[in-house]
């Protein structure tokens, strides 16, 4: 029996767990995948938005600005990288300049600080690679870049250290509310009971909601294709560069990533397939062309990988964070598309507030509020490296040569709370395999470490759980 059952371990579920685990209640998170951060949270623009896009008064506007304000302290506590590099919305048509001004005014209404309209000259001075057609830009100093994996994983780790349980590989198949007011949650791994349920199921939030409520919800998947470019192109722009927004979203952005690559994307292609994360040639060519409208000559020959993520767009075009009217005790966090990543800590707070008003819970004593991330070797001096290697020689053994990730870092990723169990789990916690060779060299070595440390057979090692096994059988005679 749990007090609160959270469905989904993406950034939303992890943020809710991060907040709730501070209280003296029994919290559990169910996740259908083999790791946290496996859905929308792993495939997005990795941007902390300033908050000028959303309609004033909307939840998106409110939680975006609040989430943005929380981010410095949160990232400090979580020991994850965050850079407030600012964003530019670039206007390339003279007659669209009034739109830029409206965007600025909207931002001010939303409480975004430091917004500034730049002239063509000012914009080009700040970003020499903007389109020659640039007419002006809206500068938002509070926008930033972050690692979404680390944000998600770090919040989940703290939640776990504070006692929240995580049940991975556990897919919710049905939910019933009993006469005693308890929720019975049926999964592939048995049945769970809980007094409250938080629906943080991303693109499946409608499916989960519709299991219990007669007021039906519908989520449309908006697929976003992205290209990630080599670190050689990482400094091509210095800010997050957006075109002017449209009804379909914020458009194709060009931005440095917090790890020094360049990201270009997303497209906005509606699909009814909740697992439809396949990129298409058309999508990639569309994003290349669209990005080229506001940033010139992007070195697309430096692409190291492309991927697609699905934004969970709810028909009313706002976040839904509320107790479902006909199902008391069932709280939706639905329609969490952009700016969901930015808003997640504020969503965690909001859900906590809703539950606080229903349950009489108190803060636990001795809660953990800070964690140390995987100990990085990047940027360490020779003396620091040598001290580390002396303490643990595994830090002297480079496994991923593109990103210079050592065995020590991989061991850390495996042996921490909610540690890595798959190749992708290691990749998202350490960046091993995320460089230009995309694991061509380090995959067999990482498999060797996973097998040794977890006592796994090679045949059981997966890329990301499920059927994603890397090898099938032994060779003849072995």
């Amino acid at each position: 029996m749990y007090d609160v059952m959270i469905i989904g371990a993406g950034v939303t579920g992890a943020a809710v767990a991060w907040k709730l685990a501070e209280y003296d209640i029994k919290t559990c998170v169910l996740e259908k995948c083999s790791d946290v951060c496996e859905g929308t949270s792993k495939a997005n623009s990795a941007i902390i938005h300033a908050g000028y896009d959303a309609e004033p008064g909307s939840l998106k506007a409110k939680l975006n600005v609040r989430g943005n304000e929380m981010m410095d302290e949160l990232c400090e506590d979580l020991d994850i990288p965050f850079k407030r590099i600012g964003s530019l919305v670039v206007c390339i048509y003279k007659d669209a300049l009034p739109g830029l001004k409206e965007l600025c005014e909207r931002g001010e209404k939303n409480g975004v600080k430091g917004l500034k309209l730049l002239s063509r000259e000012e914009a080009l001075l700040a970003e020499p690679n903007l389109s020659d057609e640039t007419q002006g830009a809206l500068f938002a100093p509070s926008a930033g870049i972050i690692c979404p994996f680390e944000l998600n994983i770090a919040m989940a780790e703290i939640a776990s250290m504070n006692g929240a349980e995580f049940k991975l590989n556990t897919e919710v198949q049905d939910i019933k509310k009993d006469n005693d007011g308890l929720f019975r949650i049926f999964t592939n791994n048995g049945e769970y009971k809980a007094r409250y349920v938080v629906n943080a199921a991303g693109v499946y939030a409608d499916v989960i909601h519709n299991m219990v409520s007669s007021g039906k919800m519908h989520i449309t998947q908006r697929r976003g294709d992205y290209c990630l470019l080599d670190k050689q192109a990482g400094a091509y722009v210095n800010h997050v560069i957006f075109p002017q927004p449209t009804e379909l979203g914020k458009g194709v952005l060009v931005a440095p990533t917090v790890h020094g690559n360049l990201i270009v994307g997303p497209t906005a292609i509606e699909t009814e397939d909740k697992e439809g994360t396949a990129t298409t040639a058309q999508g990639i060519s569309e994003l290349t062309q669209k990005a080229g409208n506001h940033v010139k000559n992007i070195p697309m020959n430096k692409v190291i990988t492309s991927f697609a993520g699905l934004r969970a767009h709810e028909d009313n075009n706002d976040f839904i964070i509320e107790e479902v009217r006909d199902v008391p005790g069932f709280i939706d966090c639905a329609g969490i598309e952009s700016p969901g990543l930015t808003s997640c800590p504020a969503i965690g707070e909001a859900v906590c507030d809703i539950l606080k008003s229903r349950m009489n819970f108190k803060k636990k004593e001795n809660i953990i509020t800070k964690r140390k991330g995987v100990r990085r070797t990047e940027g360490l001096s020779t003396e620091e490296m040598n001290a580390l290697i002396k303490e643990n020689p595994a830090y002297g053994n480079v496994i991923c040569r593109c990103e210079s990730i050592t065995e020590g870092e991989i061991l850390d990723a495996i042996h921490r709370p909610l540690g890595a169990r798959t190749l992708d789990g290691i990749k998202r916690r350490t960046r091993a395999g995320m460089g230009r060779c995309q694991a061509g060299f380090c995959m067999p070595r990482t498999m060797e470490i996973l097998a040794r440390e977890l006592g796994l057979l090679y045949e059981d090692i997966t890329k990301s759980g499920g059927d994603s096994n890397i090898v099938a059988t032994r060779t003849k005679g072995r």
Binding site: S306, G396, R401, Q438, G440, Y458, G466, A472, T473, R474
Partner: protein, 422 residues
């Protein structure tokens, strides 16, 4: 840390041959730094035969070929460190490396030989659309899993790209009981050796589809099928030509990229054609005393040529040190220009005064040429005109220049290498 005259980054075929030649040329202070657990580099996983026909006049497997050089390294008492990653090579030839035992250390060297080899082009760089499931491997990664670790990635295989490793793996997977359904190649010609197409595909009835590429990958968790389509002269898929192949494994053999991150950060000038350093007749880069050889310099077709080139790099490093480590001068150097079908040459410049009596210049062609001529011009005068029955991008070509002929022409500025139809 002990200091060394010559530090060699990489203990594969290039690094080993360079070390042996440097030692035999009289230098006793040589250190090889190798990141793997053993010397030999990629040869260790190349368990097929066909190595050494030029070097040893016999047919060896990759590990056997590597052993010949490993034995020499050990007989000659050359120092090496395994499990050691070179982290940085500075302009002043200070090498920083790291391993479990020594931690991070620096060695001020008099000469450095770059022998880091190359890596495979990954799926991401190919922009193949579709899902990103398990079951997609670069051919060399799969080769390691099969030949070193002893595991099969799958049983139903499609291969994209006809580079040599892909061709070798088509046969290897077949011998292990897998069904290799097709090899698709984007270009209208194979990037591999003719002999590998015959021995690895034709002999096993594996179809090679030229001017074809993968246009879709199915399977969310594990690969289930790929769609292959024919491409037009613009290399774009032709609608209506799609064919679906169910498979559990997709191997990629779509080109090799010299691994030059260390060279670039050292400030070495690079060729945009080869992806390797630009070198002179001594295989020396624009930084005096830093030499390059093997696949880090340009991707070779045969390891025998790697060994030969690396030995020259080793000898030249010793010569450089014997001559007092003087800065090279580019004055009087002759430039080699590759054009009309010849894509590049190694070396790029020649100082006739410093060159050996006979200098082999290697290059590759950009297309398939039948009954054409390799021509060499000395400042506009054609001095070589050799008919070749066939030349293809998968095989290296060479010309040999004679020192006395270059010395004779004291005003020679440019040597042009080109392919001519008549």
């Amino acid at each position: 840390m002990k200091s060394y005259d010559i530090v060699i980054a990489g203990g594969g075929p290039a690094g080993l041959a360079a070390a042996v030649a440097a030692k035999e040329a009289g230098n006793d202070s040589i250190l090889i730094l190798e990141r793997d657990k053993e010397l030999g580099g990629i040869l260790n996983q190349c368990i097929h035969n066909g190595f050494g026909l030029h070097t040893f006049r016999e047919e060896l497997t990759g590990p056997e070929y590597a052993d010949r050089f490993k034995k020499k390294v050990s007989d000659l008492g050359i120092d090496y460190k395994l499990g050691t990653m070179v982290m940085d090579i500075a302009h002043d030839k200070t090498v920083t490396a790291m391993n479990r035992e020594d931690g991070m250390f620096t060695i001020p060297a008099k000469a450095v030989i770059l022998a880091m080899g190359c890596r495979e082009r990954a799926r991401g760089a190919l922009n193949i659309p579709g899902f990103r499931p398990a079951g997609i491997f670069s051919a060399g990664c799969a080769q390691r899993l099969v030949n070193i670790e002893g595991y099969m990635p799958g049983k139903e295989v499609v291969i994209l790209g006809s580079g040599d490793i892909g061709l070798i793996m088509a046969r290897r997977m077949t011998l292990e009981g897998a069904n290799v359904k097709v090899v698709a190649e984007l270009m209208p010609y194979s990037g591999g050796l003719k002999r590998n197409i015959v021995q690895c595909l034709d002999d096993y009835g594996i179809p090679l589809k030229l001017s074809h590429t993968v246009v879709d990958i199915e399977g969310k968790e594990h690969i289930k099928a790929v769609t292959i389509a024919e491409v037009g002269p613009d290399r774009k898929p032709i609608p209506g030509t799609e064919e679906r192949y169910t498979c559990d494994t997709l191997l990629l053999s779509c080109g090799l990229i010299p691994e030059n991150e260390l060279s670039v950060s050292a400030g070495i000038e690079m060729s945009s054609v080869t992806g390797g350093p630009i070198v002179n007749e001594s295989l020396e880069t624009n930084i005096s005393g830093i030499f390059a050889c093997g696949n880090v310099l340009h991707v070779h077709d045969l390891v025998d040529y790697v060994s030969e080139e690396a030995m020259r790099a080793g000898q030249n490093a010793v010569k450089f040190i014997k001559n007092g480590c003087r800065e090279g001068s580019t004055a009087g150097a002759v430039e080699i220009v590759a054009e009309s079908g010849a894509r590049y040459t190694v070396p790029k410049t020649i100082d006739p005064g410093r060159m050996e009596d006979l200098l082999t210049v290697r290059f590759r062609v950009g297309d398939v040429y039948k009954d054409s001529y390799v021509s060499v011009y000395f400042d506009g005068e054609r001095v070589v005109h050799t008919k070749k029955r066939i030349m293809s991008p998968g095989e290296m070509e060479q010309i040999v220049l004679k020192k006395d002929e270059l010395i004779k022409r004291s005003n020679l500025k440019i040597i042009t290498v080109k392919i001519e139809h008549e």
